[in-house]
């Protein structure tokens, strides 16, 4: 069993699923096509479970389940995959969210194009799995770019009336980031040839290079630019509210919950290990942008009149927290950030999907159209409240642990910054509760009159996310057990020691 190419299979499952879904003729029946697609995503989930069972806890300072096949020898490119704690958690997030999203979006899409929608989602799953499994920089880049294509079509074909502009804006922002990243990727490779006489894209090899600080600075800028567009940090964020605001809630979940995580993932996986000195030196830039994002996102969220745009701004705020934790360079901050990436994926899905159910019923995403929805659909209102509270980090939920750990980790090194960021939580309470108040309470508007209560399928789709959010809120330790070795590894790579440990050492 242990010799199976688990990670390659994990990429192939949804890929095959997507091809099958595309190939099925319309005459096969929309419902059946959708069922086949969901079947493949569930199969991929079980494949992930099998993969996770092979993962050995506590030894994840090295990549596990590695595979390495020569791909383009002329450039030193390999099909190289492997996971550590972070990779495993991200793969898990993908494996859980895709079936959930497909089930939740069952009736969002017109029957005649449902096959294309479901096929594109599975294609996206395959590509994103590749992104999180790649340990070869070239391979990562290939998946990083290819990822845009299915997402571009998902936004541009299935969104609202502004979808075309939003899709093009998304693509151009991402491509500019991607091309700058390409310059960085090529440059790293050329530097590796200059230093050792041997060019390769293997992550561990590239991390072991002794790059000059000057070179590192330039490369850091290129990589950080690309990743800061992906996990949008102010001022590179403006595509996200448009893209998320114009796409269907399910696509928005994939976009914010999974795709944007590639940015923060890339920082941890590639940026810090390959350019450790520059990362430490230039961390103030990242920290500044992070705090800016926390507040800018939260304030813009308060001012939004559109539910989806509001949630996009909330996410920008949350990405600020994640980046803050990463660049604080404490073990706690980094593992908090990684945990945040998981919990944010879950809470985004909970809020977006529940609110999406409501928006699908009213055919509107304006906040004002939804006043008094509590009276017609109390149960759905309850789910939305859960999602909203989860996104403002209510104690007892996973997001609370995440935010708390990040702030604690940041406090150890930058007490002032952490204190300042904590204010972001207060602002968050405003937008979340105000959203609930404006949509759920009050006199029912025309739009919400007579809409149907949440259905069994919709509850089923939400239930795994809610269960996980609560479970991780009360028992986060298993997740941290997986993530902590990665955090320790990253700390070693950037050659940093926890400030608390320094104080403790003197006693």
């Amino acid at each position: 069993m242990t010799n199976l190419p688990y990670l390659t299979l994990l990429i192939l499952f949804p890929l095959v699923g997507s091809l099958v879904t595309f190939a099925l003729p319309m005459a096969f029946g929309a419902a059946r096509i959708k069922a086949v697609a969901i079947g493949f995503s569930v199969a991929s989930f079980f494949m992930f479970v099998l993969t996770a069972l092979q993962f050995e806890l506590g030894t994840s300072d090295k990549f596990q389940l590695t595979e390495n096949y020569e791909w383009i020898a002329a450039f030193g490119v390999s099909w190289a995959v492997g996971v550590d704690g972070l990779g495993l958690v991200m793969l898990g997030l993908v494996a859980i969210l895709v079936p959930v999203v497909l089930l939740a979006g069952w009736s969002d899409i017109a029957d005649d194009v449902a096959g294309k929608f479901f096929g594109l989602v599975l294609l996206l799953q395959a590509v994103v799995t590749g992104v999180f499994a790649a340990t070869d920089l070239f391979m990562f880049y290939v998946f990083f770019e290819v990822m845009l294509i299915p997402m571009y079509f998902l936004i541009g074909r299935f969104g609202d009336q502004n979808r075309r502009k939003a899709a093009v804006k998304f693509l151009i922002f991402s491509l500019v980031g991607g091309l700058v990243l390409l310059a960085g990727v090529i440059s790293v490779w050329v530097n590796s040839i200059r230093i050792t006489g041997f060019g390769s894209f293997d992550l561990e090899y590239l991390s072991s290079l002794d790059l000059s600080l000057e070179t590192q600075r330039w490369l850091f800028m290129a990589f950080f630019f690309a990743f800061a567009i992906k996990a949008p940090l102010v001022p590179l964020h403006s595509w996200l509210p448009d893209a998320a605001g114009s796409s269907t809630p399910t696509v928005a979940v994939l976009l914010i919950g999974i795709l944007d995580k590639v940015g923060t993932y890339g920082m941890l996986r590639f940026l810090l290990p390959m350019f450790p000195e520059a990362s430490v030196e230039l961390a103030p830039i990242a920290l500044t942008l992070a705090v800016l994002s926390i507040f800018y996102g939260a304030i813009m969220a308060i001012g939004s009149r559109d539910i989806k745009r509001l949630m996009a701004y909330v996410s920008i705020s949350h990405f600020g927290f994640i980046v803050l934790g990463i660049f604080a360079f404490t073990t706690q901050g980094i593992s908090g950030s990684m945990f945040y990436m998981l919990s944010h994926g879950l809470s985004t899905a909970a809020l977006f999907l529940a609110a999406g159910y409501l928006m699908q019923r009213t055919q509107s995403s304006k906040i004002d159209d939804h006043a008094g929805a509590f009276q017609t659909t109390p149960l759905l209102a309850g789910f939305i409240l859960f999602g909203a509270l989860s996104s403002v980090a209510l104690p007892g939920l996973a997001s609370f642990i995440a935010e708390f750990t990040v702030l604690l980790g940041t406090f150890a090194r930058y007490p002032l910054l952490a204190g300042f960021a904590t204010l972001g939580i207060v602002v968050a309470a405003v937008y979340a509760l105000w959203l609930y108040q404006r949509t759920m309470t009050g006199k029912p508007s025309d739009a919400v009159a007579g809409i149907k209560e949440i259905s069994g399928r919709e509850v089923l789709a939400l239930s795994p996310i809610i269960a996980l959010t609560i479970a991780l809120g009360f028992v986060p330790q298993p997740a941290f057990d997986v993530l902590n070795p990665t955090a320790t590894k990253v700390m070693q790579q950037v050659n940093q020691i926890d400030p608390a440990a320094l104080i403790g050492g003197d006693n």
């Binding site: 791909w71 383009i72 020898a73 002329a74 290939v142 770019e145 541009g156 090529i186």
Partner: protein, 515 residues
């Protein structure tokens, strides 16, 4: 009275080494005989059999020659790694291009060429010839000469042979560009422009060749390369000659500021011919350009590099910015080909083996993608022939998903997306340039690539994200010729993107010009 004591010695000719283009040129002569003696009804099948047979033989000969390094025909021809490889690719491109040209199901009245080119557009003669179902089968003679000229162009080892190859390649293309069945005036105008500007650029080339001869005392690339270090007193003359020769070549590869003919000719010529021309001429002219830059004038790299650096930068931006503004899809692709000439120059100016390998790969990748795009273009039609206005492509995905999908794939390849040949090509060109310390031009190229994506994707947006407006536009069902040509182009674009190693190996085996 002068009495020359030198005796003319007939140069030794290695017939096998020169067989790829000799086969094509001989077939061209034979094709002329078919035109003269075969009855009208038999001409098309005979010509097609001859063309495909000759191209296959030429490809086989080039494939067998891979790895051979020899000078022959009095050192006028250099059979070497890059040259033979380009000959093989040209043969393949010509095969695919010939399949496209042979298409006669898409237009209800015949193939893409006028029933008789001499008939005045709009005349009763023209209608009569068209009604009689005639074909201009002489295009095949022209086609064979053009393809043979291309193959000679990439192995020519002295300035005169190169010039002759240039003309053998170009003259038939000028003619064929003017022979479109539809929109004949546009086509004839394009041909005239192409011819006049082409003749002008030939003059540049010749004048440059004369200056270089004056400066170095030789026309053979080896003589030139040997003479360069030893003659500082003629350096200015030499440089002037080099610049003029490059001007002539830059015209052929469609590089700014010598690109003006490209949009008109690409638009006016029959689209299936544009496909072959865009791919083949770029291959051949760039192959010759590489030989000039690396073999003949390799010692002058410090002089020509800044020049071509600037040209590359201008070319990329003129190409992408002008393409942004086009409403005709053929003109847009013409400007995109200008931009690609710029990307190719980025590889060329690195002046290293890696640069040579990357440009050769780029050429092969670009040639097949371009063939595919233009052939696909020739299928989207309305009542008046091809529908080339971008707006008429609205909603094509719902009418013809396969066409839209293939088009999207090929456009993504031109844009340089991963998992297409275009990405590997761009990657290798950029990597070679960075290795040669040319980071600034790579950054410019990356900026240009980002702009390029906008116009490539505009077509995708129209096809997929817009509802169809006119019902007239439809995708014609082509014959097997075009189907095979399209499949080959798309599959090569995919394979070179997913598994480029074999071709890279092949190129890297002998990545040097001999002289």
């Amino acid at each position: 009275m002068l009495i020359t004591t030198e005796v003319f010695v007939q140069p030794e000719i290695n017939w096998f080494a020169i067989s790829p283009f000799t086969i094509l040129l001989a077939a061209g002569v034979f094709s002329l005989l078919i035109e003269t003696f075969a009855p009208r009804a038999a001409r098309r099948p005979l010509q097609l059999a001859l063309v495909f047979g000759a191209l296959l033989a030429s490809f086989a000969a080039a494939a067998l020659l891979l790895g051979t390094e020899t000078l022959t025909a009095g050192d006028a021809v250099a059979i070497d790694g890059p040259g033979v490889l380009l000959q093989a690719v040209i043969a393949l491109v010509a095969l695919v291009g010939a399949a496209g040209l042979a298409e006669n199901k898409v237009d209800p009245s015949g193939d893409a060429f006028a029933a008789r080119a001499s008939a005045i557009p709009g005349s009763s003669d023209e209608r009569a010839f068209t009604a009689a179902g005639w074909y201009s089968t002489e295009i095949w003679t022209l086609f064979l000469f053009a393809a043979g000229g291309m193959q000679l162009f990439v192995v020519a080892n002295d300035l005169l042979t190169m010039f002759i190859a240039l003309e053998v390649m170009s003259l038939p293309l000028y003619l064929m560009a003017g022979m479109a069945r539809r929109r004949r005036l546009l086509s004839q105008e394009a041909a005239l422009k192409y011819f006049v500007l082409g003749a002008y650029s030939s003059a540049f080339f010749l004048f440059g060749a004369a200056l270089v001869y004056g400066a170095t005392g030789g026309i053979n690339f080896n003589d030139i390369a040997q003479a360069i270090p030893g003659r500082p007193q003629t350096a200015t003359l030499l440089m002037a000659g080099v610049v003029l020769i490059f001007v002539g070549m830059l015209f052929k590869i469609g590089s700014a500021p010598f690109h003006q003919w490209t949009p008109d000719v690409y638009q006016g010529a029959p689209t299936t011919l544009t496909a072959f021309m865009a791919a083949g001429v770029k291959l051949a002219a760039f192959g010759a350009m590489l030989r000039l830059a690396y073999s003949a004038f390799g010692a002058l790299i410090w002089d020509w590099r800044p020049l071509l650096w600037a040209i590359a930068a201008i070319t990329m931006f003129v190409g992408v910015l002008a393409a942004l503004m086009q409403t005709d899809i053929k003109r847009m692709l013409a400007y995109s080909s200008v931009a690609h000439a710029g990307f190719l120059l980025v590889g060329l100016i690195s002046g290293t083996n890696a640069g040579l390998v990357s440009v050769l790969f780029y050429l092969a990748a670009y040639a097949f993608t371009t063939l595919g795009v233009f052939l696909l273009l020739s299928l989207v039609r309305d009542a008046n022939g091809e529908a080339n206005n971008i707006d008429t492509w609205r909603g094509l995905a719902s009418k013809s998903p396969l066409t839209a999908f293939t088009m999207t794939f090929l456009l993504l390849a031109l844009a340089g997306f991963p998992l297409t040949s275009g990405f590997i090509a761009k990657f290798s060109v950029f990597a070679a340039a960075v290795q040669a310390n040319q980071m600034p031009i790579v950054l410019l190229a990356i900026l240009a690539s980002a702009i390029a994506v906008v116009f490539y994707l505009r077509v995708v947006v129209l096809m997929y994200f817009r509802a169809a407006e006119s019902t007239e536009v439809a995708v014609a069902i082509p014959s097997n010729f075009t189907v095979v040509a399209l499949v080959v182009s798309a599959v090569i674009t995919l394979i070179l993107g997913v598994y480029p190693q074999p071709l890279l190996d092949l190129i890297s085996q002998t990545p040097v010009f001999i002289r």
